[in-house]
């Protein structure tokens, strides 16, 4: 059973039941009931497509509010690399880091620094004997959940390394304890500044038996507005960036892959493209590739729903700012080929695969026959008026007992037309 805590919510006051979100949901997780959208938490992958597409701003992300950092004595900011692309006229990352100190954080640990460490580990991992290729990145939480729900066959392809957010949280906490030995563990607040709701869900749910070391996940847009008030060019930053080109590039689709210095890599962005790539990998229909980078958001993390700037503009800014950065400031020493055990995650969360009708094949076949028969009776125009995204999903809902065939508006229209025709004929008979 999935008891996954999600970070996408609906404001029922603003929802008009327009079916836009339902039509765009890649896992068909949304239904419209009583004129309002409802998300099935077992199917939702927190991709944020509904937030992107809602014309009435009814869909929201649930993150911690920035004020919650006050709960902690020692607050460490973990900015995602996408944050650097949000600012106009920025020529030096240090100004953003200083800004974070000025708005109330005690220290900053760039996730891009941890990303360079993860890239170094990944380069080593790809040389390991006997691993299943293509290796699939676990950086995007939407993708890992999607694979668990819909492509369980590809679970063994996932790279078992913790993503940069977690590596950053772990190192940041260690460093905070070292710098301030008088602090207790609960005094330290590790706060990730996120471009998306999926990372917030990841921190709330952990991964399998791994509990996230992130205490708070705050929306990048909320932090942006705090930062622009304090970022001033006159003041020389007291803090300097500890990441290079590779770290910053993780925010863009292709950045994570390019860090592997290997031309047998593939990078895809946008949830529908991610699904089609996973389909092809599952079918064995791809050339011999070593590594696959998958980003649910268009253009990568810069396209997350909690960012401020247009992803293409943010990408251009990051290209400019990374132009003369050293390739990487964090890597393993040259001859080092050992990845610390604590940087791996031990197990994969248990997910109920979405497309399985039941645990018993016989039962599944019976249900499928019912669905197919029912589907033939339905109009097949996928209008969404019944509250399901398409007629096939509606047929499934009926068979599962969560919907009734009488909700089909097209069937009503046909029945009403017949009634009118009969009524007219009835009149003529009477007057004769």
């Amino acid at each position: 059973m999935n008891t996954y805590i999600h970070s996408v919510s609906l404001d029922p006051e603003k929802c008009t039941g327009c079916t836009t979100c339902m039509k765009h949901c890649p896992t068909e997780a949304i239904r419209v009931r009583n004129g309002c959208a409802v998300i099935d938490p077992e199917r939702c992958i927190d991709c944020g497509e509904c937030i992107r597409n809602c014309p009435n701003n009814a869909k929201k992300s649930i993150c911690n509010s920035f004020d919650e950092i006050k709960k902690f004595k020692y607050k460490v900011a973990l900015p995602a690399p996408a944050l650097i692309g949000q600012f106009d006229n920025l020529d030096n990352t240090d100004y953003v880091l200083q800004g974070l100190l000025d708005i109330g954080f005690d220290d900053v640990f760039e996730v891009s620094k941890a990303a360079e460490i993860v890239s170094a580990y990944t380069r080593v991992y790809l040389e390991t004997e006997g691993i299943k290729k293509p290796v699939i990145s676990t950086a995007c939480p939407v993708v890992t959940r999607l694979i668990g729900l819909r492509f369980p066959f590809l679970k063994d392809n996932l790279i078992p390394l913790l993503p940069p957010m977690e590596v950053a949280a772990s190192i940041a906490r260690e460093e905070a304890m070292k710098k301030n030995p008088e602090l207790k563990k609960e005094d330290i607040g590790i706060c990730f500044i996120s471009p998306c709701p999926a990372k917030a869900s990841y921190a709330k749910n952990g991964f399998g038996s791994y509990k996230s070391e992130v205490d708070l996940v705050v929306s990048m847009s909320e932090v942006y507005f705090q930062l622009i008030n304090v970022m001033k060019r006159e003041k020389v930053p007291e803090i300097s960036s500890q990441a290079g080109k590779i770290g910053v590039s993780w925010a863009i689709c292709g950045g994570e892959g390019s860090a592997l210095l290997n031309d047998k890599i593939l990078a895809a962005d946008g949830i529908n493209n991610v699904i089609s790539v996973l389909d092809q990998i599952e079918d064995g229909n791809i050339p011999p590739i070593d590594f696959v980078e998958l980003n649910a958001c268009p253009s990568g993390c810069v396209g997350g729903v909690l960012t401020i700037e247009n992803p293409y503009i943010a990408k251009n800014r990051l290209h400019t700012i990374r132009r003369y950065m050293p390739v990487s400031l964090n890597g393993m020493p040259e001859d080092e080929s050992y990845i610390p055990h604590k940087r791996f995650f031990a197990d994969f969360p248990k997910y109920q695969p979405l497309n399985r009708l039941s645990d018993n094949i016989g039962e599944s076949m019976r249900l499928m026959a019912q669905i197919q028969a029912l589907r033939k009776e339905l109009p097949g125009i996928d209008c969404g008026s019944c509250g399901a995204p398409n007629c096939r999903a509606f047929a499934e809902d009926i068979v599962r007992g969560t919907a009734h065939q009488s909700e089909c508006i097209i069937a009503y229209k046909e029945a009403f037309k017949k009634y009118i025709e009969n009524y007219d004929r009835g009149d003529k008979v009477e007057s004769e």
Binding site: L261, H319, Y324, P326, L329
Partner: protein, 140 residues
């Protein structure tokens, strides 16, 4: 006459991920010396482009930055394959960088032209099969 201040680096050709660190270090040093930010920017960019070239094309080399009276001199010396056609290499857009590094933004073919643009003096000495030495100066 006192010895001019110099910074010397070994640029490792086998470790691509460390490329660019020498010029980052020079930038820090010049900032500490109190040079004009515009001068620092020119030196840093010229040296960065040359350093990356040494790693990508020449298997590494040695970098020297010397603060002379009135100019900063940058000498980048390698024992790589050398440049067969210097005129062609100086053309904007011409690049022999491998595919793997292009997605990181390299290989636009602007390295040598940028080095010339940002410096007040540039000289390329290259012998095919023996190596290349580039000497640049930024006046201040």
């Amino acid at each position: 006459m006192s010895e001019p201040l110099g910074f010397h680096y070994d640029v490792d050709g086998d470790n691509f991920t460390s490329a660019g660190q020498a010029s980052a270090q020079v930038k820090k040093n010049l900032r500490q010396l109190g040079f004009d930010p515009e001068i620092i920017r020119k030196v840093a960019i010229a040296m960065y482009e040359g350093e990356i070239n040494m790693v990508i094309h020449a298997g590494g080399g040695k970098a020297h930055v010397i603060v002379e009276d009135g100019y900063v001199e940058i000498i980048l010396a390698d024992t790589g394959p050398g440049i067969a056609n210097i005129e062609q290499a100086m053309k904007e857009g011409f690049s022999t960088a491998p595919d793997q590094v292009r997605s990181l933004g390299f290989g636009a073919g602007m390295g040598l032209p940028n080095m010339k643009r940002y410096t007040d003096y540039m000289q390329i000495d290259s012998v095919v099969g023996e190596g290349t030495t580039i000497t640049m100066r930024v006046n201040y």
